[in-house]
């Protein structure tokens, strides 16, 4: 075999290899599929607001990326894993969707990730919370953007223990997310020298929390941790308020509280609550500028989930712009190689396990007298640097993480 021939083979092989991951937009458009809860328990914190955020991202790109139009589909997954999976499969096969966006319940996120694994599509998760998504269930093309149970536990849990809340009692929603959250917080509390006295696993969803609040009161714990979300959290806070939990010296820790929850409770009931959030609209000029635009479109200030969807989509579009391709693995590689720094994410970077690590905020809900304008709800107590907030890679169980 002479040299020229070898070179010829090499060129052909090289061209073939490049062809596989070629700089090209498949099917002449970039299609994103927004799967979220449009009418159920989580529709205020995600839902129509997530669709609005995605529309803003597309409009800000001028409707085009890498010269091709961006098309958005959206559907209601009703917080059910089977519905989410069926829709994702249909969108992948028939509509040729390139990326799935939001996914607001852990079970739906895990189901869609499984499908994306086979088809190499991108999954940009904002609403779902479980740290499993980038830990034992991590996936090469899935990115977990906004927050996770580990970061919530770390933020709120360690802050409350340091303030003297040594003994804890949990009200836990009896499903994967609630149990995961309780486990993560328990680890943080015990690591900081605290102690968990007990827990009640309540049905999901539950309406009346007075009975569970009474049990938490009689436990004598200094902190009552609410390992639930949405209406369960607001109803639990209301009951706690009514039964005088805070007045009698116990503290409430809302482990997952969104600004939509605080808005619906009102400050007289929600005041004093400590919480961890990935985003607050009134943090600085950049967050305010974007949030005001969101407010003009929807009439509400964004939750961290909605802001996260915009941020993740812009990062995704820019990666397509840079590579000229909408091939899942190619785009994700580019996304992981580029730091994330925008109105939403401070010091953001996407790790090999798919976790977008960024600064988190420990916040306290203001007293009614401290609130100067509508939606003026949080006092930011502390910025938690991303590397401190999220699970260190050295403790990760994700197979994608190379252990040295």
């Amino acid at each position: 075999m002479n040299f020229a021939r070898k070179a010829g083979y090499a060129a052909v092989l090289g061209a073939l290899a490049a062809g596989a991951a070629q700089a090209e937009i498949s099917d002449g458009a970039v299609k994103i599929g927004v799967l979220t809860d449009m009418s159920g328990t989580y529709s205020d914190l995600a839902g129509p607001g997530v669709v609005a955020a995605a529309e803003m991202a597309i409009a800000d790109m001028g409707g085009k990326v890498a010269g091709k139009p961006i098309v958005m589909l959206s559907a209601d997954h009703q917080n059910k894993a089977d519905i989410a999976a069926n829709k994702a499969r249909e969108w992948g096969d028939v509509e040729k969707v390139d990326a799935y966006v939001d996914l607001v319940t852990t079970s739906t996120a895990l189901a869609v990730m499984e499908i994306a694994k086979q088809t190499h599509k991108v999954v940009l998760i904002s609403g779902a919370g479980s740290s499993r998504i980038t830990n034992e269930d991590c996936n090469p093309t899935a990115i977990h953007w906004t927050y996770d149970t580990y970061a919530l536990a770390k933020g709120t849990g360690s802050a409350m223990v340091k303030e003297g809340g040594k003994t804890w009692f949990f009200l836990t929603a009896d499903y994967a997310f609630g149990q995961n959250l309780q486990k993560d917080v328990t680890a943080v509390v015990e690591a900081n020298g605290g102690q968990v006295l007990g827990a009640v696993k309540h049905p999901f969803p539950a309406t009346d929390f007075s009975s569970f609040i009474l049990q938490a009161q009689s436990s004598g714990a200094q902190v009552i941790g609410l390992a639930n979300a949405g209406a369960d959290t607001t109803n639990a806070i209301k009951a706690a308020n009514e039964f005088g939990v805070v007045q009698s010296g116990q503290k409430l820790a809302g482990l997952l509280v969104f600004i939509s929850d605080v808005h619906s409770l009102g400050l007289p009931v929600a005041q004093g609550l400590t919480l961890t959030t990935g985003f607050y609209w009134d943090y600085d000029d950049k967050t305010r500028a974007w949030s005001k635009r969101f407010f003009e479109k929807t009439g509400k200030m964004p939750t961290m989930v909605q802001a996260g969807v915009y941020s993740s989509l812009m990062h995704y579009f820019k990666a397509i712009e840079a590579t000229g391709s909408d091939d899942g693995p190619t785009v994700v590689k580019q996304m992981k190689a580029t730091p994330v720094e925008d109105f939403f994410a401070r010091h953001g970077k996407i790790r090999e396990d798919g976790r977008m690590v960024h600064d988190m905020y420990l916040a306290e809900v203001k007293k009614p007298a401290e609130s100067k304008q509508p939606w003026d709800y949080y006092k930011i107590l502390r910025v938690i640097p991303g590397d401190e907030a999220y699970l260190p890679l050295s403790e990760s169980k994700c197979p994608l993480v190379k252990k040295s």
Partner: protein
Amino acid sequence: MDFLNIPLPAILAQLVVGLINGSFYALLSLGLAIIFGLLNIINFAHGAQYMLGAFVAWFGVQYLGVNYWAALILVPLTVGAFGMLLERTLLSRLYREDHLYGLLLTFGLALIIEGVFVQLYGVSGKPYATPESLRGALNLGFMFLPKYRAWVIVASLVVCLGSWLIIERTKLGAYLRAGTENSQLLQAFGVNVPLMITLTYGFGVALAAFAGVLAAPIFQVSPKMGSDLIIVVFAVVVIGGMGSILGSIVTGLGLGLVEGLTKVIWPQASGTVIFVIMAIVLLIRPAGLFGKEK
């Protein structure tokens, strides 16, 4: 899980809390039982009407300056009138058809009403302040009982017993019971049965709205508040015996107590215990605890 490990004060406190929930069950199942008794309609819109009660109370405060006490009277009247309108325009067309049509119609109505409210107000709900005079708590020795919750027990017991007395002890109630037995015969005696049916439906709906106003300060006023509760209330009606007035009141309160105890003994089961009881009751007494075999 050991019953004996739970101290007595805790049990007493849970019983009181159970009684509060039972009051809601009793009010709602009473309305359902009255409607089923006379109209033979399984009113699936009952949860939505309960939610409407809470929302109309919220509208009252928000836009019209109607306070809680006025709302307790005005809201049931308003929502009850809306119920009568539904009965006249829609339900009345179905009396000759099978039960199933009424069930489907009211179920559809419930979905529409709920959907419209989700669209307009979102799912998180609106806060409704507890009236000034009922804030604070009573010290019962074994627990602090919020005054408002105590009021809920009193108000619903008074309304339930009042309704029961009207139905069992007055002439109007006698007509109603007669209509339940045989409406054609009653009409032959010159009683305006269609009017009576309309008023009865309105009364049942008004009871749901009354419960909604009572619930507004406790829970968030939210479009989903009715659908969360209505399934349990149906189970209560089935256990009590479809159409039995006293049965629905007694089982409503009783099941509230059972559920309250379950929440201390085995909280995970508190969402299902009522349905387990329902299954057992149906196996042993298919007509329900207070129902008559037909």
